[in-house]
């Protein structure tokens, strides 16, 4: 080994000495080059010798001495046992409507004029063992009186090595329906959720306890099919067995226990993606959510959705900018309400009826230059009113909204957002709102999804 390396070094000497036609115009430079050659050679020879002595040894630079105060690298280096992060979202909001809570119905949106802390979340994630990863997300929420509520927003495991391109997720999680439902407020492009999602999934999005199986198809382009089986009760399954379902059908919800597999919530989805060019990507999906609702003992709800995301990113993107991204989702819900007692007047029986709601939004983002994004969004949602006229509930009115915003990231770990909303609600009127947000991130930075 040592001899071959020395031979190599000798070869180097002869070949480089022979190659005098270096692109150099001045004789002065050539002279200097020759002078320095022997020095350089000596250095390289010494280096080669040491490499021959212990081949895989790292380069020459001296190892940094291990100081007693050296950092606890395993705690902070990525992927070591557990990543810990904390996201804090603060806001200041003003609207022409005094009842901000009726205008902004999402859980992570302002509900009063003035300051707000719409979201504070502690996120933990890591690899459990060679077979599983796990993720937990604990959310602290301050209501309009400053009272703090705590909720276990997500907590799930994810398999890493199942055969057949399968993957199972289990626990409580935002269900893969459409594009935005799975995203945390930290990843939203606007300060509030699209109206379509509010209408179908309620203030907190569609999430529940259950299992999800996913299959990455062996196609040449990305195609993934997922199926989630979930419990169908609670606020986070708003269109199903939710205690707040009277806002949808105007009747008194019944106690409806789980009788069989048909009383679970099923959420299938197929998503596919192609790279249109080396700088443009298209991602499309269709989703469904099917389960029982509690207007009656055999009443059911079906939700269908399609989603589309297109993104262009510059081939010389710096920090991910510039880019242009378009995102749109359309959802329809068929809520089969059974004959039920009226909520306002229980002596009155409401006839069974099928209520249909529709919602759509489209948004365009422009990443102008590093750390600056401008966005516009149009929102629309409408629906059948239950025949019994209780539905003055603001959740049920036909409404549209136009929003525009500007987001500035001082670094990857903080952001300022300025957003303006123009709202139109049938029968209520028009409103203007200004939403300001500041968000910070402490700790590990989770990898971005597409």
């Amino acid at each position: 080994m040592r001899t071959t390396l020395l031979m190599g070094a000798l070869l180097c000497v002869s070949s480089t000495a022979g190659a005098q036609q270096i692109p150099d115009s001045t004789a002065r430079r050539q002279q200097r080059t020759l002078d320095s050659l022997s020095t350089a050679l000596a250095a390289v020879n010494a280096r080669l010798d040491s490499l021959a002595a212990k081949p895989p040894a790292p380069p020459m630079a001296p190892m940094a001495p291990m100081a007693p105060m050296a950092p606890m690298a395993p705690m902070r280096a990525s992927g070591a046992y557990m990543n810990v992060s904390f996201v804090g979202l603060t806001g200041f909001d003003w609207s022409t409507s005094k009842d901000v809570g009726a205008l902004q119905v999402g859980d992570h949106e302002p509900h009063v004029r003035g300051f707000a802390i719409p979201n504070a979340e502690l996120a933990l994630d890591g690899t459990v063992d060679p077979y599983l990863k796990a993720f937990a997300n604990v959310v602290y929420k301050l209501d309009s009186n400053g009272e703090t509520g705590v909720e276990l927003e997500e907590m799930f495991f994810l398999t890493t090595s199942l055969p057949g391109n399968l993957q199972v997720k289990g626990g409580q999680f935002f269900t893969e329906f459409g594009r935005q439902n799975v995203q945390h407020p930290h990843s939203w492009a606007f300060a509030d959720q699209p109206l379509a999602l509010n209408r179908m999934f309620g203030p907190e999005g569609l999430r529940s306890q259950g299992l999800r199986i996913s299959w990455l198809l062996p196609t040449s382009f990305y195609t993934e099919a997922t199926m989630a089986v979930l419990n169908s009760a609670g606020t986070t399954t708003y269109s199903f067995r939710s205690e707040e379902s009277s806002a949808i059908h105007g009747g008194l919800p019944i106690e409806r226990a789980v009788g069989g597999a048909g009383d679970m919530l099923y959420v299938p989805r197929v998503a596919t993606s192609v790279d249109l060019t080396s700088t443009q990507t298209l991602l499309m999906g269709v989703s469904g959510a099917f389960g029982p609702n509690n207007s009656g003992s055999s009443a059911r709800t079906q939700i269908f959705g399609t989603d589309l995301y297109w993104k262009w990113k510059s081939p010389t993107a710096h920090q991910g900018f510039p880019f242009v991204a378009f995102q749109s989702e359309a959802l329809v819900r068929r809520y089969d309400a059974a004959a039920r007692d009226g909520e306002a007047n229980p002596s009155l029986t409401l006839p069974s009826e099928s209520l249909r709601d529709r919602g759509v939004y489209a948004q365009l983002l422009w990443g102008i230059k590093p750390m600056l994004v401008a966005g516009v969004r149009a929102d629309y949602a409408n629906g059948d009113h239950a025949r019994y006229p209780v539905l003055d509930a603001p959740e049920g009115v036909n409404r549209s909204r136009y929003s525009t915003n500007l987001t500035w990231f001082p670094s990857e770990y903080s952001k300022f957002r300025f957003q303006y909303n123009y709202d139109h609600r049938t029968g209520i009127g028009n409103d203007h709102s200004l939403l300001l947000q500041f968000e910070f991130l402490l700790g590990a930075h989770a990898a971005h999804k597409f």
Partner: protein, 309 residues
């Protein structure tokens, strides 16, 4: 109930029909590299026995690659994944790997080559404080411009390819031998070309040329970014300009994805020249291999330093 039943049945049918995958016979090993520089090394060592694909484009910022779904498919079918490992890909690779569900390239598997293992990293922080910008906890991940690091890396790649695909061991070994021989010769030539400029001062946009500077005895006196990952501010640029003037720094290096305009503004006020260099093979013309790339960087630097002397 009917639409639900239909959907469940359709979903089930989809699951059962499309599952069969034909086994491949003596196909080339599928090697995926996160960045084109690693891909170039894998090609040099693997030759015809491997089919190499890079995830990042040569011209884009390797810190911020989109986790495109097509990358999930690429990683799902990979036999070997080569990544830098020192947090360079932290913002996008973990979520891709999570979706790719390929245990052959999981951390610790023979098919996963994280090349920073075995490299002595520079700029390792002694304290963790993001007031200093987006500092990588493990050290500076732009280590490929030191040829001696590449020596370690190609050896590592050859070892692992041999382990995963013993049938082509002779080829990998021969290619490694050729590569190391050429590298030793080239290193000598590069050192010779830059030797006249020992101690020369340069400015870069990001802290991405520190290994080059360390190996070839150049001094990076300032970066246009005030701190890693923080965009240049007027106040900081003013400071850079005054330092460049007082220390007579006449060369600014920018990569294709960094702001040339900012560099030009500074250069105009300091009588400096802006050099277009790239760390990724293929970003600039005639830089397809690691040797071509280094030839180009060294020659561009030497020419400019000579002219601005």
């Amino acid at each position: 109930m009917t639409p639900l039943t239909h959907l469940v049945v359709a979903f089930g049918a989809l699951l059962t029909t499309a599952g069969a995958e034909t086994p491949r016979a003596a196909k080339p090993l599928i090697v995926v590299a996160t960045t084109p520089d690693l891909a170039a090394l894998a090609k040099a060592i693997g030759g015809n026995a491997v089919d190499v694909k890079a995830l990042a484009k040569p011209t884009e910022d390797p810190h911020f690659v989109d986790a495109k779904p097509s990358h999930i498919v690429t990683l799902n079918r990979a036999d070997v994944l080569i990544d830098g490992g020192a947090e360079l890909e932290l913002g996008w690779l973990p979520s891709l790997l999570e979706s790719a569900r390929n245990s052959k390239i999981a951390a610790g598997a023979p098919g996963r080559i994280s090349v920073s293992q075995g490299i002595h990293l520079l700029d390792v922080p002694t304290s963790f404080d993001r007031a200093k910008g987006d500092v990588h906890a493990m050290g500076n991940p732009h280590f490929m411009l030191d040829p001696l690091n590449v020596r370690v890396i190609v050896t590592q790649i050859a070892d692992r390819l041999t382990k995963v695909d013993p049938a082509s061991a002779a080829l990998y070994h021969a290619n490694l031998k050729w590569f190391l021989g050429t590298l030793d010769q080239k290193l000598l030539a590069w050192q010779k070309e830059l030797e006249p400029f020992r101690g020369a001062k340069i400015v870069t946009y990001h802290k991405d040329f520190v290994y080059l500077a360390e190996r070839f005895k150049l001094e990076v006196v300032e970066t246009l970014e005030p701190k890693p990952g923080i965009s240049p501010s007027p106040a900081h640029l003013a400071q850079v300009i005054s330092r460049m003037r007082s220390e007579k720094v006449r060369v600014i290096l920018v990569q294709p994805f960094q702001s040339r305009k900012t560099a030009e503004t500074v250069a105009r006020q300091t009588d400096a020249v802006v050099l277009d260099v790239a760390q990724q093979p293929g970003a600039l013309k005639n830089t397809a291999t690691y040797f071509d790339l280094m030839d180009s960087i060294v020659h561009t630097l030497a020419t400019a330093l000579q002219e601005k002397r």
